[in-house]
């Protein structure tokens, strides 16, 4: 009886081995980026904006809130609209010290992405308009009279997919020049949550 049972188990193992060898030759890819949602997406972001140049001398870094609305044309190329608002305090050392000022920016951008499984890096750049909420910088002789001007620049970031098909999170940094603030630039660094429809 024992010999019969042993031979039955060995026979079963033999069949099992035969099943394994019958699997497809290609390895299973995990995570599979093809299963990540692609197409229309939105991003909500929070972070900080700091000014450099003439504006940086009188405006402190400030808190920023923004959003992207974009579309993945290919896995590696997207077009997106970006809006960002930030609030700042006028630095010490001038007559408007402590006053608040906000910046509103809207840009159209292109974005190139290189994916490594669950993680990707991207570069982006574009042009747009920026608006200051008040004429405080004009009163300080930092900017010309007009509060609206063009802005242009780009940056890079890191995206990490959550594997839940629609969601990913990431970090980005962008550096832009501002034509309405003569000789001034800004650096924005944000963290975002992305939802791809």
């Amino acid at each position: 009886m024992a010999a019969l049972a042993t031979s039955w188990l060995l026979a079963g193992a033999s069949v099992a081995r035969a099943q394994v060898t019958a699997e497809p030759a290609g390895a299973v890819v995990f995570p599979d980026p093809n299963k990540f949602a692609r197409g229309l997406y939105t991003e909500g972001e929070i972070g900080a904006v700091a000014f450099f140049g003439k504006a940086g001398e009188v405006v402190s870094p400030g808190f920023a809130v923004g959003a992207h609305l974009g579309y993945d044309i290919f896995r590696w190329l997207a077009l997106q609209a970006h809006v960002l608002g930030s609030t700042h305090q006028i630095s010490d050392g001038n007559v408007l010290a402590g006053q608040l000022i906000q910046t509103y920016q809207a840009t159209l951008e292109g974005k190139l992405t290189l994916r490594f499984g669950q993680t990707s890096i991207f570069g982006e750049g574009g042009i747009g308009v920026a608006r200051l909420s008040t004429n405080a910088l004009y009163a300080l002789a930092v900017e010309p009279r007009y509060r609206v001007g063009f802005t242009a620049g780009g940056g890079a970031g890191l995206d990490y997919h959550s594997l839940s098909r629609h969601f990913s999170v990431g970090l980005r940094g962008d550096y832009l020049v501002m034509t309405n603030l003569s000789g001034s630039q800004e650096l924005l660094a944000t963290t975002y949550l992305r939802y791809t429809f």
């Binding site: 229309l40 939105t42 809130v65 609305l69 008040t134």
Partner: protein
Amino acid sequence: MSGARRLALVLAAFAPLGLACQDLNTPIYFPGPVMPALVLTGMPDAMGNTPRIENGLTLQFRNPTQSEQQALDMQAATLGFMVPWIQRDHVHIEMTYQVTNTDSKDGTWSIGVDGANEFTKYDENIVAMTLGMGNNDPPQYIPLIPVTPQILKAGQTVSGTVREDDFNEAELDLYGIGEWMSPFNAVLINNSQVNPIGIANYVPPTSMYPVQPVIPALIEIDVNFTADAAMTCSYAIRVRDDDNQLLHNTTDTLFSPTPTLFVPPAMTTP
């Protein structure tokens, strides 16, 4: 997910940012005439008085449109007295300043803010001169808005703000002085937030004169700077213009009233 729901979700995501981008109550800043505006050497004048310097700026407003003027006229007819075009409830003023002691010694500084509404101009120098007629006492300056004198160490800088509350009080005081014959020294000393007698105390609350008249805003701000050491004072005026009355467009015409200079009754020696 349907296309309509998807679009609604996208728009909803952008809605808070759109609201944040509205220029609600955005202030406009006016720098002082020059920067630094007021410079003192700390040397007393010929009479041995602490040196003073004054300058100011006039805010430029547009004239009312025809419909706005009609509304003002109707309101004036109802109330029974003139209603100002530039009103305290619609134009909110604040002043920021920065004082630097450029001397090698400590010094004491003070600021007095005067000004004018569209009816009356108040100048503490004129008032002091009038009160000083017939005596040899040092001049007594009574500004519309006093900034408490402070000691400033050599080489140091201090910043401060004359708040909207302070301007509100000054605007009420000037209105009482200019339009309602209120005793100027009592009005300026009284703090209406502590003792809110206001206009009601000077004008009987009859059907002709309501308790809450329409108070004009300042349209001219004059800054008197006093220091007994070499100091500079820069300032800027911040205006919140609720009804867009500041002059922006070249097609609008400049509102140019001619306020009457307030002169107190001269003190007479017995």
